[in-house]
Symmetry: C2
């Protein structure tokens, strides 16, 4: 193996798209000097050769005194306090609204339970599981009630999948590009390993009557949040989840039990599940008529828009970050997901969409779950625009913003999945921009994004 | 679909091994009444037919008042406080020792970060990442130092794998069966999605000199915990991890950076990584000579026993639990893992090993990671002994305790991977037993298990 710095290889080879996008496998074959600093032993003059020695004389303070004892339940380091959810409560009723996952500060694919996004309509109920049951009734042969101990006797299933609020990324509809950080613009989506009882098993226990087509799912919060769900989805891949990432659900994620409907918008993944009523038609609840619907250009309403379409986002570098090391090599990484199945490819552009190259997808790539993508990039020091474009296994491709607006108009609030453009200026500062065509598409005033 | 209760199916069909072990796919084809209770609307007499109605008149207290507001970082429900790590500190020096993951209270395969087991030799250091660097030195062409921002410019990799302390399950060597709950007997193992820089890339940057065969890895804790690791493992699949389950490492798991050596015993997954010194031979540190070695029957010492062998454990039902519902159907579930690759199969016995049946393995089954297994069981009400036996993709089979003792003797402390027997008495109370042969294998007094 060569012992010489090999950064020059990036100049001579490895470029796979314009403006410095490099072969995603380059780093696996060949080291590149990204960020290492040459180290000299204490006292050695700069540039002087010498065998480095154990730096025992410079032990930091935390090596000079015994550390903290054991703890029953760990918490993050005190130096990582900024890695927190960003609350966006309703201005009047502060327990109604959403809080955002800081996707730009995370890596890998799992969202830690403490950082899973929140969407509540009247706060987080403090449910004693000993006094809670799930009722299955309506068009069934036998109404049944299930306590937590009842459910834990059933064979469980685990499923890693994302849950995304239908209103995620809604600032993308606005005429002025959002200046929020990536997670506080797109972070009403999180990815967990959910474990619970397949809904199909429980419905079979109750006995589905002919004519049942819909299920009204209601939560045990003070809003009694309820929506209508097609019965077929509950019989397909839905879980009544009891565990999230190994442990029992957190209160804000539906403790003691919630629906998980892989790939479908967050609002139908009903939390604090209290009852499932089988019916022949939807109940036309507030959150499937006045909300979670979109006015289309032809004047009709887009309703029951359950599936979350293919989407991606560069999480680093992203809006608000700075390329502190100046021109040179950086990792470009992010997340892609689709409610229709697996992510098949993610393409990256550093020249505002003129040329694209495939990013590496972290294995295993699971259906209806976050896929982590990564590609190396050599920033020249000149302004640039970074984009990511995802394609799922059904062949659906994430649209440009202008394509989405042409299709859906300017009165939408939900289901925004347009390509995101991060700008890089000559100082290495990242921002958010629309492309020229999209910027000219003015229309009605922006929607007031207060959650209710 | 039939609307009749189908519990009788379990009597007529589906048994695949003695004493009530049922076909693992039975539940996927056909519902079985595990725990549902027939529900009657309020006011209806028992046994009276009637269409259940929305139980609006009996709304629980948490539906009658608004819930809690948003939180920046969530915590578990107050009703789940017993799901905590169990600390086993050294009797003299309380920041030396271990704390155990409550595996018997968890489901799925991911261990939440707050519950990952701990093993410290002088407590958890409070490291300011701004004052911390990793040094690579010794038999290299250029000594290099890496800060956290340096490392974050490199392309990262994610890897879901277990980390298991070499001393996990050491009570299995004792002459009297441990009466601990499953997690506090076998829970010095946890499973996470780790994200970091491949060590091979960093070593290549430094330039490995001919003659380098070992690497001394030292942590920045007050013990300066250090061990010797074969260079080839670091060039193979090792990570310098910065993230665990999506977020930055927790202090007790090595913040701001640690080694992750998939499949190898915990002590070499050095936390709080401070320096890697390339050498031509091991340094013979305390934790590879006086500790983490085993005296064999022939008087030699078993050293550098890095790989954690194939192992499994029924987590539920397990020691200390009670089958509260009486005779009937239960889920038997647990975890299997191997440091040599994927788990290929897990067999379950309910008749003390006379007959076995394959449990269902939750997909995806990943190499050197927890595999979750499940199988339905119909408990007859008579005493029973439950066992699990794992086989990995290299063909290694988890041994019975007597086989392990025959091979390794009675002076061992580390690397216990024998089959675990959970007894069920006529009251449904679970306990831990040895089989008759093993019970007669008395020998030297039990090892004092105080951690140091």
């Amino acid at each position: 193996m060569s012992d010489q710095p090999v950064a020059r290889l990036a100049d001579a080879a490895g470029a796979v798209a314009g403006n410095g996008i490099l072969d995603r496998r380059l780093l696996l074959r060949q080291g590149l000097v990204f960020g290492a600093m040459a180290w000299l032993p204490p006292g050695a003059a700069a540039g002087q050769a010498g065998s480095p020695r154990v730096p025992g004389s410079s032990r930091p303070p935390w090596m000079r005194e015994p550390g903290r004892e054991f703890s029953p339940y760990g918490v993050p380091a005190r130096f990582e306090q900024e890695t927190a959810r960003f609350p966006a409560p309703n201005r009047v009723q502060r327990n109604n609204g959403a809080s955002w996952t800081p996707l730009h500060l995370l890596e890998g694919t799992i969202t830690p339970n403490g950082l899973h996004f929140e969407r509540h309509h009247n706060g987080v109920p403090d449910i004693d599981p000993g006094g809670h049951e799930l009722l299955i009734h309506g068009l069934v042969n036998r109404a049944l009630a299930f306590s937590v101990p009842d459910l834990l006797r059933y064979p469980l299933e685990s499923r890693t999948c994302f849950i995304e609020c239908g209103g995620n990324s809604n600032a993308g509809w606005n005429r002025i590009p959002s200046r929020s950080q990536a997670g506080f613009f797109h972070g009403l989506v999180s990815n967990s390993e959910w474990t619970g009882v397949p809904l199909g098993v429980l419905l079979h226990e109750a006995g589905v009557k002919p004519g049942a087509k819909w299920v009204v799912a209601e939560g045990a919060d003070a809003f009694a949040m309820h929506v209508s769900i097609p019965l077929a989805k509950l019989q397909d891949d839905a879980l009544l989840a009891l565990y999230q990432n190994g442990e029992r659900l957190r209160p804000e994620n539906g403790y003691p039990m919630r629906l998980v409907l892989p790939g479908w918008e967050g609002v139908v993944n009903v939390k604090w599940m209290r009852r499932l009523e089988l019916t022949d038609q939807p109940v036309m609840a507030r959150n499937e008529t006045a909300r979670y619907t979109d006015l289309m250009p032809d004047g009709t309403a887009r309703m029951f828009s359950f599936v979350m379409e293919v989407k991606s986002l560069i999480t680093s570098p992203s809006s608000g970050m700075v390329l502190k090391g100046g021109p040179g090599l950086y990792q470009v990484t992010g997340l892609a997901w689709s409610g229709r199945g697996r992510i098949r490819r993610v393409e990256i552009s550093a020249d505002n969409g003129r040329t694209w190259a495939d990013a590496e997808l972290q294995e295993p790539v699971l259906p209806k779950a976050f896929a982590r993508f990564r590609i190396p990039w050599r920033w020249s020091g000149a302004p640039a625009v970074l984009k990511s474009r995802a394609t799922d296994e059904t062949g659906n491709v994430q649209p440009e913003r202008r394509e989405l607006i042409a299709q859906r108009g300017r009165h939408g609030f939900y289901h925004y999945n347009g390509i995101v453009n991060w700008s890089v200026d000559e100082n290495g500062v990242l921002g958010h921009v629309y492309d020229e065509v999209a910027a000219q598409q003015t229309g009605t005033p922006d929607i007031d994004a207060d959650w209710d």
